[in-house]
Amino acid sequence: MEKRVKFKGWRLPMLLLLPQLVVTVVFFFYPAGQAVWQSMFISDPFGLKSQFVGLGNFEFLLADKFYRASFITTAIFSGLTTLVSMGAALYLAVLADRLIKGSGAYRTLLIWPYAVAPAVAGVLWLFMFNSRVGVVTWYLGLMGYDWNHVLNDNEAMGLVVVASSWGRISYNFLFFLAGLQAIPKSVIEAAAIDGAQFWTRFRTIVFPLLSPTTFFLLVVNIVYAFFETFGVIHTITSGGPQQATTILVYKVFSDGFVGQDLGSSAAQSVILLVIVGALTIFQFKFIERRVHY
């Protein structure tokens, strides 16, 4: 797609582009390049010397059982977070779409969690599940369940998944609702006249028509789970217990800043870069195709 009308000259557009280019180069390409560069060195603990190791950091990482564990943790965590937040959002969106009146109020009720920072959401959930003062822990205790996410791997994972999904439901809800509302009513009415029940209609008509939205959300949510959930994990579990909730980003952070292992951390950044890059290209291809129909 191109504009038919273009202004002439190249000085002015370059000038206009300059701020963005400078910011992009200095704060994006330069650091990204640095990440690639550093990923090929190991430095001693004092940062005085560094030694070229080529792909050594990557080899080391892929052989490292903690890193591989972190990969699996990330996969489980992103999978669950995406599933929970999208599932709940779709359910709520279908309900909201059927409401004729009051869907505005319903929407207002549902969107505010989006505004809550993941880190703050983490603190709120932590508060509820805190072993000393948490309400939920207390109720669970009454029912004879001893909740302790500080020690139990699965409980820790469950808590970060719930806390991460919670704020994300708003976001997914808005997209699903927009998607649902874009489906022509006549299509659904035609199916209803054909005698299809609600569930059949949903499965055979609504869901397929919603698939572009679903696909888009899938990618966006995975990226969200990869990166923006850092705040949740940092506040709730700090990656523990025993690295049970250490997702890849968290590991970049803890190896790079806490452990000061720059080479390894840079190599991890590069791996993340490649994963997200692949997702982006995937997404772009898809968007391009979507534009055509």
């Binding site: 797609m1 273009k6 002439k8 190249w10 650091p31 969107i111 505004a115 920072a117 805190n130 982006t280």
Partner: protein, 206 residues
């Protein structure tokens, strides 16, 4: 802390809007050598958040002596193409005839930008502002890294600092009060500007 959060959120929102309006205008409305190259260069950043390149970015900021500064907080988060992409999409929908009419009326490129394109983008700008403000306000990892000086802490990351290290009992009333304080500004914005917010969200992602 509230002040720092406000400055950071405003800085990110305004900074990003300004530079992306300009660059989207250049990319959509001009033909100049290297245009496609710059286009791809900028759009490569579309989905790569700071978190991916966090360590080297930190070093860059440290080398520039921008730790514990507002510019250090703001600039790396501006380096992303989302807003540019949104404006590009919007500019593409502005009819060519309007540009031609302006040319016939004698408008120079920048006059067209100011008098026509900018006023027509008002709702988009407002919607994007809401989204970016919240995005900026809710940043956690980045401020955590580069603000070692408590004076520069933002409120969202400040909460974590209130947790005691070791086995001390957390002061929950203070923590919860701070959390609520951190939540309120973005929540008010989202709810009071619901229409703009939803529009900004849905448009900027598609």
């Amino acid at each position: 802390m509230l002040m720092n959060s406000l400055i950071m959120a405003l800085g990110i929102a305004l900074g990003k809007i300004v530079i992306s309006l300009l660059s989207a205008f250049a990319i959509v409305y001009f033909n100049f050598p290297g245009r496609r190259f710059f286009f791809w260069m900028i759009f490569l950043t579309l989905m790569l958040p700071v978190e991916v390149r966090i360590v080297p970015t930190y070093q860059v900021i440290a080398n520039f002596g921008m730790l514990n500064s507002y510019s250090g907080l703001i600039f790396p988060l501006i380096a992303s193409a989302t807003a540019t992409f949104l404006f590009r999409q919007f500019f593409m929908t502005v009819p060519d005839e309007l540009t031609e009419a302006a040319r016939v009326d004698g408008a120079r490129p920048m006059q067209f930008f100011w008098d026509i394109l900018l006023p027509m983008s008002r709702t988009n700008i407002a919607a994007l502002f809401v989204i970016l403000f919240i995005y900026g306000w809710n940043q956690y990892l980045w401020p955590l890294l580069i603000t070692t000086d408590p004076e520069m802490n933002t409120i969202v990351m400040g909460i974590k600092q209130m947790f005691p290290s070791g086995d001390d009992v957390a002061d929950w009333p203070v923590i919860m009060a701070t959390s609520i304080l951190a939540m309120i500004p973005p929540i008010i914005i989202v709810i009071s500007m619901q229409k703009l917010f939803i529009r900004g969200l849905v448009d900027s992602e598609k």
